[in-house]
């Protein structure tokens, strides 16, 4: 039986269990209208039975699915002739792989002989038997669990509390997924970075001025000594992020001020969704907008002004990234401005301030912490942005502050280091993890600062 069918049947049993549990709880107290005699609402007794029917059966299914392949492989290997069974572990593994492939009807790397064919047939037979056994066991478990829970229903049974306890564990499990994933990512990056720092000294990475991540493939290769100074990457990131902020902060802030204080409800109703559309454009689209439209335009504009501009310039990438971030800045600033109590606005207007005085002297100072927090979040967004820079700013790790030159950023280098066929133990590949770790630390610090500023601001009016 297919596992999907099995799961569907379990779902059906859960629904049935729900109705039986509900009906029994009502029947015990004499039907509808006597529900007050029950400890919990009748539905909770239904959920109680359904949970007991499904959860143990699902747990069994999970364990079975995890253990099954190993058991079957062991059984199949046991059934092989002695000559095969005593092969060294590596070759035995290969053989088992071939048997499995043959059983599944895939391509096999050796000539198929009788032994192999028999083993494959046996494998399939075991799988078939295991599935049937599993189906019986799981459905039996579900029936048994449900029946036991059903028998235990009693007007004094605290069904709601029990159901809620199970739900609470579900919620805890769901919320720990995100946390565990974060921890997992940090740890995996951290361990690889430590391996990198065993090959390349930390001081070279942090303070070296030259980024040229080449490693020798052959011992006698020329020009193979890589250098891993990350400074050009971080200055490149800083340059592009600053350009993006110079674009995004004033435009976003003024947009927010206009929308929050000056626009009519109708204009706000049109402009806000449009801004959100801007936030929804994939960054790769911004990337080719930057590379194909903005960069050539800047280049030709620069030429007519007599400035040498690289065809892939930090300026193009920064401007487009700034445009991409405008909606983020404006919506966070808009939230901060709207969070200022309207009593402030009234108070200032009531004293005879003009709208602009109200804005600059009362509302903006009051909203400033929230706005600063929003800008910091936007900065970490800009630092982490990759696609636009790959397409518009190039890959050359120049140590420069000139926005007309090509630069590269940390994220772009991580991408180029990991794209393509790589050995996963060379310094070149491991450098990506070191960069990732640095980036993670920097954005984490920015986020912590941003969020704490925002939180401090919230405390002010509560």
């Amino acid at each position: 039986m297919q596992s999907t069918t099995l799961i569907l049947m379990l779902g059906f049993m859960a629904i049935t269990a729900f109705f039986y549990g509900r009906r029994r709880s009502l029947a015990l107290v004499g039907g509808h209208g006597h529900g007050m005699a029950l400890h919990s609402l009748p539905g909770y007794y239904g959920y109680y039975v359904a949970i007991w029917a499904v959860l143990p059966a699902l747990a069994l299914l999970l364990v079975w699915v995890m253990v099954e392949p190993r058991v079957i492989v062991a059984l199949v290997v046991n059934g092989l002739p002695d000559a095969y069974r005593n092969l060294p572990p590596g070759e035995l593994n290969l053989l088992v792989n071939n048997i499995q492939n043959l059983a599944a009807g895939d391509v096999v790397s050796v000539d198929v002989d009788d032994v192999l064919q028999n083993a494959a047939t046996m494998f399939n037979a075991y799988v078939e038997k295991s599935r049937q056994f599993l189906a019986v066991l799981v459905l039996g478990m579900a029936g048994l669990g449900g029946a036991m829970a059903w028998r235990r229903i009693h007007p004094d049974l605290r069904a709601r509390n029990r159901v809620e306890r199970v739900i609470r564990w579900f919620l805890i499990a769901a919320s720990s997924i995100a946390i565990l994933t974060t921890i997992g990512i940090v740890l995996s990056v951290l361990f690889e970075a430590i391996r990198f720092f065993q090959k390349v000294p930390l001081t070279e990475f942090l303070f070296g001025l030259n980024w040229s991540p080449q490693t020798a493939i052959r011992a006698d290769q020329v020009g193979s000594s890589g250098s891993f100074g990350a400074v050009p990457l971080f200055t490149g990131t800083l340059l592009i992020t600053s350009i993006a902020m110079v674009v995004a902060v004033p435009v976003g802030l003024m947009t927010a001020i206009y929308l929050a204080e000056y626009s009519s409800a109708r204009i706000r109703g049109i402009a806000k969704p449009l801004l959100e559309v801007l936030a929804g454009i994939p960054t790769v689209v911004y990337g080719f907008f930057a590379a194909l439209t903005v960069a050539p335009w800047i280049r030709s504009a620069g030429e007519s002004a007599g400035i040498q501009v690289a065809s892939e310039s930090a300026l193009a990438a920064g401007i487009v990234m700034g445009i991409m971030i405008i909606p983020l800045v404006s919506s966070l600033a808009d939230d901060a401005i709207n969070a200022v109590p309207s009593a402030m606005r009234d108070g200032a207007l009531g004293l005879g301030s003009t709208r602009s005085e109200t804005m600059t002297k009362v509302i903006l100072p009051a909203a400033l912490p929230g706005i600063v927090g929003g800008i910091l979040l936007a900065v970490s967004r800009a630092i982490g942005e990759t696609m636009i820079v790959v397409m518009a700013a190039g890959l050359a790790a120049n140590l420069t502050a000139n926005p007309f030159e090509a630069v590269t950023t940390v994220t772009v280098q991580i991408v180029t280091l990991l794209v393509g066929d790589q050995e996963f133990d060379s310094a070149k590949t491991l450098a990506a993890f070191a960069l990732g770790l640095m980036l993670f630390v920097v954005t984490l610090i920015l986020n912590v600062i941003g969020l704490s500023v925002v939180r401090k601001y919230r405390e002010q009016y509560d």
Binding site: A343, M344, D346, G347, A348, L349, L351
Partner: protein
């Protein structure tokens, strides 16, 4: 009320008309009261020395006709209280007097309001300049998130009332003194205004309002968020302030209206029902609705 109507079997439809007559006869030997809603304001909307005059004011919020044909004179150096149940339009009327309704997109005001003989809704009138002359104190104390000093200095600064720092210091000091706050805050002018207690914050807002030297002060339930002791201090303050300013106060407390005001205006469902001297209105209201409200039968 109900006993009288059960005595004689009157059809239910006739009951409301019959009731007031019966009651007037039963209670006291007082003159018959006006009962209709929608007629002319009873009492006396005029005063001896009018400073702000509203005539036939109507306010619409979109399709909602919030106040209808309100005419009222507000005298120099008097406290006039606007009372009435929630939603009766008293705050709306108050906000017409300094054009705060302009900040509401859907609000529309018709009629005529003059300040010292000049129409405040005429096209040349700058609402900003008007609000400097007609100050406002709000229901909830709303000090700016600035220091106590900067809160009071805010108005003089934006209107350029002080030539130098010394003059500004003087204005701040005088305003705090007049608001009765100076002794409590004179050593902590640099602390944020929000660090004060609710009653102190409200007096700070009053100090902030009088720092721009207005001619009229509008107060929208200034004590509704305060305890009785802080309320008493604000009321004392109003007694002093009315020697220099015209004060219009919206209040839900009849006792407060009786304590602080010289005249009282009763609003009901967007209509100005009755205006009179405070003693008259609380002892001998002319309108049935006013009587019902001040005796606690409605509202």
């Amino acid at each position: 009320m109900t006993e009288t109507s059960t005595d004689k079997p009157v059809p239910p439809a006739a009951e409301p008309q019959a009731e007031p007559v019966v009651e007037a006869a039963v209670l006291h030997e007082v003159p018959e009261r006006v009962t209709e809603l929608g007629g002319a304001t009873v009492g006396n909307t005029r005063c001896e020395n009018p400073f702000m005059v509203a005539e036939d004011v109507n306010v619409y919020y979109g399709d909602n006709h919030a106040i209808q044909n309100v005419s009222l004179e507000i005298g120099k150096k008097e406290v006039i209280a606007l009372i009435g149940p929630s939603g009766c339009g008293k705050s709306t009327f108050l906000r017409c007097l300094n054009r705060m309704n302009d900040t509401i997109e859907t609000a529309r005001v018709t009629g005529n309001i003059t300040l010292d003989g000049k129409d405040i809704y005429r096209s040349e009138q700058d609402p900003v300049a008007l609000r400097a002359r007609v100050g406002m104190v709000f229901q909830k104390p709303n000090p700016f998130p600035k220091s106590i000093y900067d809160n009071v200095a805010y108005g003089p600064r934006i209107h350029g009332l002080a030539a130098d720092r010394a003059e500004l210091d003087n204005i701040v000091h005088t305003s705090l003194e007049r608001a009765g706050l100076i002794n409590e805050v004179k050593d902590r002018l640099d602390e944020p205004g929000t660090s004060l207690s609710g009653g102190q914050q409200q007096r700070l807002c009053i100090a902030r309002t009088i720092a721009v030297n207005p001619e009229v002060i509008l107060m929208d339930e200034p004590c509704s968020a305060l305890d009785p002791i802080a309320t008493a201090r604000i009321e004392d303050l109003m007694d002093e302030l009315c020697e220099d300013y015209a004060i219009v106060i919206v209040t839900h407390s009849m006792q407060q209206a009786a304590r602080v005001s010289r005249r009282v205006a009763y609003f009901h469902l967007g209509l100005l029902v009755e205006v009179d001297e405070t003693d008259r209105i609380f002892t001998n209201p002319q309108h049935k609705l006013t009587e019902d409200y001040i005796t606690g039968r409605i509202g």
